[in-house]
């Protein structure tokens, strides 16, 4: 099995450009590529190059970088906040802050609406139960309908706010990215 796998990897790497293989070799990303892959790359590169380039420190774990989290402003977001290239009509930091708040608010809104609408749920339950008051045999059915329908209505309201806020956060990020891409032409 190992020989077959190795052969397949070897054939795949043979098709790749030397530069591409060198990049993989130098980056030394052990998360993305297996040890076997590196052995094969070494073999291919030794055939193509006189001397193997030095490898970077092996990467065993990728740092988690959430581009959606505006708090991670070091890498992806710093380009937007460069004062040399700042837009005139808005402050990028305002957008980043608002985007972060919108993301947090969207999650909090769902929980809050479920809590806030609980009294409404009991009112709805009483309303549904009143339809079944004449027939005690279907009381349980009435209760089930009240819980399912009322619960769905409460969750849906929370989700409407969740999606609106979340969508707005993403729209702001995309708009800012678009604006940034148009900035260098100014």
């Amino acid at each position: 099995m190992n020989n077959n796998l190795r052969k397949t990897i070897y054939e795949n790497f043979l098709l790749k450009e030397t530069d591409e293989l060198v990049e993989i070799w130098v980056t030394n990303d052990r998360v993305e590529w297996s040890d076997t892959a590196f052995e094969v790359i070494q073999e291919v590169l030794e055939q193509r190059l006189d001397e193997l380039p030095a490898q970077n420190e092996p990467i065993f774990e990728h740092e988690k970088q959430s581009i959606h989290n505006a708090d991670d402003q070091d890498l992806p977001w710093s380009k937007f906040t460069d004062p040399e290239n700042a837009p005139l009509l808005y402050k990028p930091m305002d957008i980043l802050r608002m985007s972060s708040w919108l993301n947090q608010a969207s999650r909090i809104a769902v929980v809050l609406f479920i809590i806030i609408n609980n009294p409404e749920l009991s009112k709805f339950q009483r309303l549904v139960m009143s339809y079944f008051s004449d027939n005690p045999q279907v009381d349980r059915l009435g209760l089930s309908i009240a819980i399912i329908y009322g619960g769905l209505a409460v969750i849906l309201e929370g989700l409407i706010y969740y999606f609106s806020l979340k969508a707005l956060a993403h729209i702001l990020n995309i708009l800012m990215e678009m604006e940034f891409n148009s900035r260098d032409v100014r």
């Binding site: 837009p87 005139l88 009509l89 808005y90 608002m98 809050l112 009991s122 707005l168 729209i171 148009s182």
Partner: protein, 111 residues
């Protein structure tokens, strides 16, 4: 460059920027209205409890009233977020379009 930028600003851009400003002001008005409404509900809630009407009431009614009052505030905050977001989004849109217009003018001038 700013000169070019201001020159490129059309009536539509100015209208959108006015709308953005209006959304921003309206957001604060909405927040204030909902905040005042929350305080009003809270005072009403406190008065009811101080009076004899609700003294013997069960905890369920009290919780229901408190959540209802809190609900006003939460809705106000969410509307504030949405309106401020719209206001910012419109500003970015105008800025993007102006950036492209300035480029277009620069290209035309070079030709």
């Amino acid at each position: 460059m700013i000169h070019n930028f201001e020159q490129s600003c059309t009536a539509t851009h100015k209208r959108l920027l006015r709308f953005s400003k209006f959304a921003n002001i309206f957001a604060w008005i909405i927040l204030a209205i909902y905040f005042v409404q929350t305080i009003g509900q809270f005072i009403e809630f406190a008065d009811l409890f101080r009076s004899d009407i609700l003294q013997s009431a069960d905890a369920g009614i009290a919780i229901s009233f408190a959540l209802n009052t809190f609900g006003y505030f939460v809705r106000g905050v969410i509307y504030w977020f949405l309106l401020i977001g719209v206001s910012l989004g419109l500003k970015i849109l105008v800025q993007t379009d102006l950036n492209y217009r300035v480029k277009s003018q620069a290209v035309n001038n070079e030709q």
